[in-house]
Symmetry: C2
Subunit: 214 residues, 2 copies
């Protein structure tokens, strides 16, 4: 019993990139569309090949993700990732990211909850910027390891109603030394309407430097 | 008793721009610095004159703020303003905005909570964008009425450790028809360190148009 408890307590934390009951039909449709093309272990235990990979998502930095640096120097024990800080499923950011290494393309499927309001009935410009930063920051990290956002330039073309599911697609334009230039488009779930287009510059860093002084 | 309950239920909602127990010394110091220069009613009931005005902040759109349009056509009854959606004081965005009509300057004092994490121990780039959008969006609204963000361009110069209090200062560069161009700097609370500088373009809208179709 104790062993079971301990094992449960120290087991891998919740992966927020997996579906939950708040996900609507459009979110599920897009999830299935990309997930069915992922190279993962099937229920039968066989390895399925595919160009896409679903990226797991946790609400805090884990020892295995930072080489132990963060846990040993932890500044804020209660700190949680901004996009995963709300326990009420469906209330804020519901999203899943997929990466295609053959095409070097990152895709995010994002369902906007009712607590993300900016203009009446629509998603806050800051919440939109947060999702863009999440997708392109992940893409830049895959390309160069840990990075910090140095510039983020967003054109807001069309507001996003609360509750809608949208699609984000990023691509790396170029790398120059420690710099990575990424672009991202956010469209309606069927791709017909452009909500935002954006460019960003990331600079690679060592996490230990970030913790030693800001 | 019933009257008292009804009166309490329908009374003006909480003003989040007022201090609470989570505000640290730097947040309080800056609040007092600007609030003491505000033209407001004093405890003694006298009107005090001052160049600054503290801007109240609520977590949802109110009838008197939108001419009743929003409440009568409300799409999401549970919708809450993104920056004020967390009930745990001090956990996310603690901020207060002041406006100086003589200098046409808007100032935001922002204390970053532990649930805003992006890079380990530091504020998420999206949370920073959210605060910038809040300050400059408010400034643009004062200048032109309801607006939507059309472009937001942020240079991230120095990461912000969780728990820190920072200062945002915006100014309107120019107005052209329905367009308003605003700039904003985010510094450490003593003004010595630059965290971000940014430019933004806002376009004035009618809230009713936003609700009729997106």
């Amino acid at each position: 019993m104790l062993k079971g408890l301990a094992s449960g307590f120290f087991s891998k934390p919740r992966d927020f990139s997996l579906p939950n009951s708040s996900w609507g039909p459009e979110m599920m449709r897009l999830y299935e569309q990309y997930n069915s093309q992922c190279g993962e272990e099937t229920e039968g235990g066989e390895n399925r090949e595919g160009p896409w990979k679903r990226l797991p998502s946790y609400n805090r930095f884990l020892k295995y993700a930072t080489g132990g640096v963060y846990l040993s120097r932890m500044i804020h024990k209660k700190a949680r990732l901004f996009t995963r800080n709300n326990r009420d499923q469906g209330a804020t950011f519901e999203y899943v990211l997929f990466f295609n290494s053959e095409e070097d393309k990152c895709v995010g499927v994002f369902q906007a909850g009712h607590l993300l309001e900016g203009p009446p009935g629509h998603v806050h410009g800051g919440a939109i910027a947060t999702m863009i930063d999440t997708v392109i920051g992940t893409h830049a990290t895959i390309a160069c390891g840990p990075v910090l956002t140095a510039n983020l330039n967003i054109n807001y073309r069309r507001p996003i109603p609360l509750g809608n599911t949208v699609l984000l697609e990023s691509s790396v334009d170029k790398k120059e030394g420690k710099k990575v230039f990424v672009t991202c488009k956010m469209t309606s779930s069927d791709g017909s309407k452009l909500h935002t287009d954006s460019t960003a510059l990331f600079v690679s860093i060592k996490v230990s430097q970030l913790l030693l002084g800001s």
